[in-house]
Amino acid sequence: MMLETRGLCRSFGALAVTRNVSLSLGRGARHALIGPNGAGKSTLVNLLAGLLREDSGEIYLEGERINGLPVHERVRRGLVRTFQVNSLFSELTPLDAVALALCQAQGRALSFVNARRVHAEAVDEAASILEQVGLLDQAHAVTRHMAYGHQRLLEIALALACRPKVLLLDEPAAGVPAAESRRLFNALDELPETLAILLIEHDMKLVFRFAKRISVLAEGALLAEGTPEEIANDPRVRATYLGSGHV
């Protein structure tokens, strides 16, 4: 298994936000996590990424327990995330930001040895990642001046530059105008096949197009898990979240 959680729990005071969640993603997984607002999806992503500490339960990355590891250490081991609300380097250009992430992926971002050469190579590779997500024409723009949809794509480009083994995509389509969503969907389709992806998303069109397995979270606990077809036909899921539109 690439990523596995066992009995993950997290409470804020008396409020249990994550309750005994066990998930597993194999190599190349296309797994979606859906659920109503407040179901605990983002908390779960923050627990996996290391931004929050779990109260109990275990997280394994490629069979290795990663509980307690700081965020940057998890990223170095290949567990990378994007953010639900854009969290970028507002004054850097996409090219600089992605090149920095590439330097870091090689463990060279804080090194002074051969720094110029490492940076020049990273810039070349950054350009090809930006091309992959359709952002090459924005490579030299200042990030805060870019359109929102382009910033969402930059989130994905930055995550790819970290050389992920498991990618947590936290609502990549949130706030993206319909005209730009095709570009985003194409970028998601182009992600490496070996990469295990956990997609958290409200856009059911995207979820059912992208995912091979879906887990449904409700009130912090897993309500159901299965193929898109099984989930679409699960009466509990339809009652809780989907309604009758996805039969």
Binding site: H72, S87, A101, Q104, L158
Partner: protein
């Protein structure tokens, strides 16, 4: 202020309020005596400053410089691309301390005297003012700010000897409110606009 009081108490080492007197400084490289007019000291400080500036300029253009920029802009995202922000900060703090240490050594060497007011609140405030006016987080901010501060201090104290600090404070408030990147940013924006005007003016 705590360090000031601590140094004042430790007068056996620091000389207390009298400062450290009677420091004997050998001629530079055994050849150049520090003269009363301060010419040797000036050139010496300028050369050391230039060397440090070149190093800073070199670092800013490396991934290390980009890392620091990233940590300043968005530390959560910096960690999310795998950067060890604590390691980045500790490295730059060490480098900054080396620069500050060099400045202190130059001051003692060229003045042959260290007053207690190097630890005063006023000195810290002056340095902070220089950086803010010049432009925080800008390579040239410190240089421009220090020069601008000295010129403004001289001009304002000439115009209004009693309340010149008020006017300097006003400049500081205006810079903080309206020009976050300081004078360097102001110059940069002015240059870009002028460039656009020139290009538009072309046939």
């Amino acid at each position: 202020m705590l360090l000031f009081e601590l140094a004042n108490k430790a007068s056996e080492w620091t000389g207390g309020l009298d400062g450290m007197l009677d420091i004997e400084i050998a001629p530079l490289f055994g050849v150049f005596e520090f003269d009363m007019a301060g010419r040797v000291g000036y050139v010496y400080c300028a050369v050391v400053l230039f060397a440090w500036f070149l190093l800073a300029r070199h670092l800013v253009r490396q991934p290390f410089g980009l890392s620091l920029h990233a940590v300043r802009l968005n530390p959560i995202r910096a960690r999310a691309i795998g950067l060890d922000t604590a390691a980045a900060l500790s490295r730059i703090y060490v480098l900054s301390a080396m620069m500050a240490g060099t400045a202190g050594a130059l001051l003692a060497q060229t003045n042959q005297y260290v007053a207690l007011d190097v630890l005063s609140f006023q000195r810290s405030a002056d340095v902070a003012t220089m950086l803010i006016i010049g432009g925080l987080g800008q390579l040239y901010g410190g240089l421009v700010g220090a020069g601008g501060f000295v010129v403004a201090q001289d001009a304002l104290s000439g115009l209004n000897p009693e309340y010149w600090q008020f006017w300097l404070g006003l400049v500081l408030v205006l810079v903080v409110l309206f020009v976050r990147g300081g004078v360097v940013e102001l110059l940069r924006v002015g240059y870009r606009r002028a460039l656009v005007q020139v290009r538009r003016g072309r046939p």
